[in-house]
Amino acid sequence: MDVDKIKELIELMKTNDLNELKIKDGETRILLRRGAKGNPQIIQMPHQPLTAPMPAPAAAPAAPAPVADENAGLIEITSPMVGSFYAAPSPNAESFVKVGDHVDTDTVVCIVEAMKVMNEVKSEVKGTIKKILASNGQAVEFGTALYLVEPD
């Protein structure tokens, strides 16, 4: 479900003064709920919560996507999964990469922890780290941009 659609639903809730809205659209289920201040909360429901299906193979890192405007020409390294972002292998260790570092396709740039599994994330692109977009310990979604890389 895209962001515009969700915005539309939020407007619909506001104009009709609805507090809760459940939408089921194929595999996607969404629950919108307006909080104390009237700000809707978006809750992504799991697909089949009570009978866990055989999970699909762990997702391969998403293909690098080009980024527009001031970051023109830069390529995003995105999170391959939902989890917590760690820039370094341990709290007191040095970060895997810093701004200005040169990375190769198989350079490890960070760890995303999901369900207590430490997943190494590789650059998948050859170039120079220009920006670090995620902060240490931050919760990230599938596809969240973590780094911007200027390709060679």
Binding site: P55, P57, M115
Partner: protein, 321 residues
């Protein structure tokens, strides 16, 4: 074969066994027996020798050895290769060193002592010589199983292996601690890497075996426990390791078959979390609610106090009952 000789020596602890007696039991000649005795000494066993009386073993402390573990293991995938180190930085690191080599799928790495064992987030996993079972298992090119399932599966295998090998009742604390009498008995950490030949995992497991309470670090002392504190019987770490490898093999020998329902049910049977009200911290925010279910893939399904149902990943750092 060193395994069989060792078994005999252990059964006759502190008693002399002549070379002739040993030859009568084992299909070995005298030079071969001497050679095996030397191997056992290198492994750290204290064996006294006498030209007339033969050999006797001192002490009952067990030592891990790949021969002992591989003997009659009979697994299809896990533990087909076993490496035992007297000391290493981290068994997980050793397993990763072999991740690129052909034929190392299912490799089991054990160490008597670990200098820099890693827990989650670089937390140190302490282990003095011979006091623990420190085991890392390598899975090469594993695409069927979701990484989240491995955390639950490893916890379940450790809990079941401990209970069957020692008779000590175990529970699981969400998501990956194995508990006995409300204290932490074992920990698990899974690492995943995308390598040239495919997705690889190392499952690291640490079981406290012989530690006395004062031997745990002060900061963990009040919530850690070891097997020897829970039973009078001597812990046979070889037997426990074999049991654990067989349990893992039952789940991992053939991952083409979907057994997530079975995993879900058996895991839940050892965990008291469903139905409980708890508080947890996710991304710096505190949430409170009742646990509806545990999903093998996504994590905890929580009905928050305001009625909203939400899924929390297992990396959610802390839960309070």
């Amino acid at each position: 074969m060193a395994g069989t000789l060792l078994d005999i020596l252990r059964r006759h602890n502190e008693q002399w066994l002549s070379v002739e007696t040993l030859q009568g039991i084992l299909p070995l000649d005298a030079p071969a027996i001497h050679q095996r005795i030397e191997q056992l000494r290198l492994m750290g066993y204290q064996i006294e020798s006498n030209p007339v009386y033969g050999f006797r073993l001192h002490g009952t402390e067990d030592r891990l050895s790949s021969e002992l573990i591989e003997t009659s293991l009979n697994t299809k995938r896990i533990g087909r290769k076993v490496l035992v180190y007297k000391e290493t930085n981290s068994t997980n690191d050793v397993a990763w060193q072999h991740a690129d080599e052909q034929g190392y799928d299912g490799l089991a790495v054990l160490a008597e002592h670990q200098r820099k064992g890693r827990g989650r987030l670089g937390r140190n996993w302490q282990a003095a010589l011979g006091q623990s079972v420190l085991l890392s298992v390598l899975l090469q090119n594993e695409t069927n199983i979701a990484s989240a399932q491995l955390t639950l599966l490893a916890g379940l295998c450790v809990a079941e292996a401990v209970e069957e090998a020692t008779g000590i009742a175990t529970r699981i604390k969400w998501p990956n601690d194995v508990m006995a009498k409300g204290r932490k008995l074992a920990g698990i950490m899974v690492e995943a890497r995308q390598l040239r030949q495919g997705r690889c995992f190392v499952i690291g497991m640490g079981i406290n075996c012989a530690q006395k309470q004062q031997e745990f670090a002060p900061e963990h002392r009040h919530r850690a426990i070891s097997l020897s504190q829970l039973t009078e019987t001597q812990i046979d770490r070889v037997h426990l390791t074999q049991m654990l490898l067989r349990k893992l093999d039952q789940w991992l020998a053939n991952t083409n078959v979907d057994r997530s329902d079975q995993l879900h049910d058996r895991w839940l049977a050892r965990c008291d979390i469903v139905g409980h009200h708890l508080e947890l911290i996710s991304n710096g925010q505190t949430f409170a609610g009742r646990v509806l279910d545990v999903c093998c893939r996504e994590g905890l399904l929580l009905q928050l106090d305001d009625g909203v149902v939400r899924v929390f990943d297992g990396s959610t750092t802390s839960t309070r009952p």
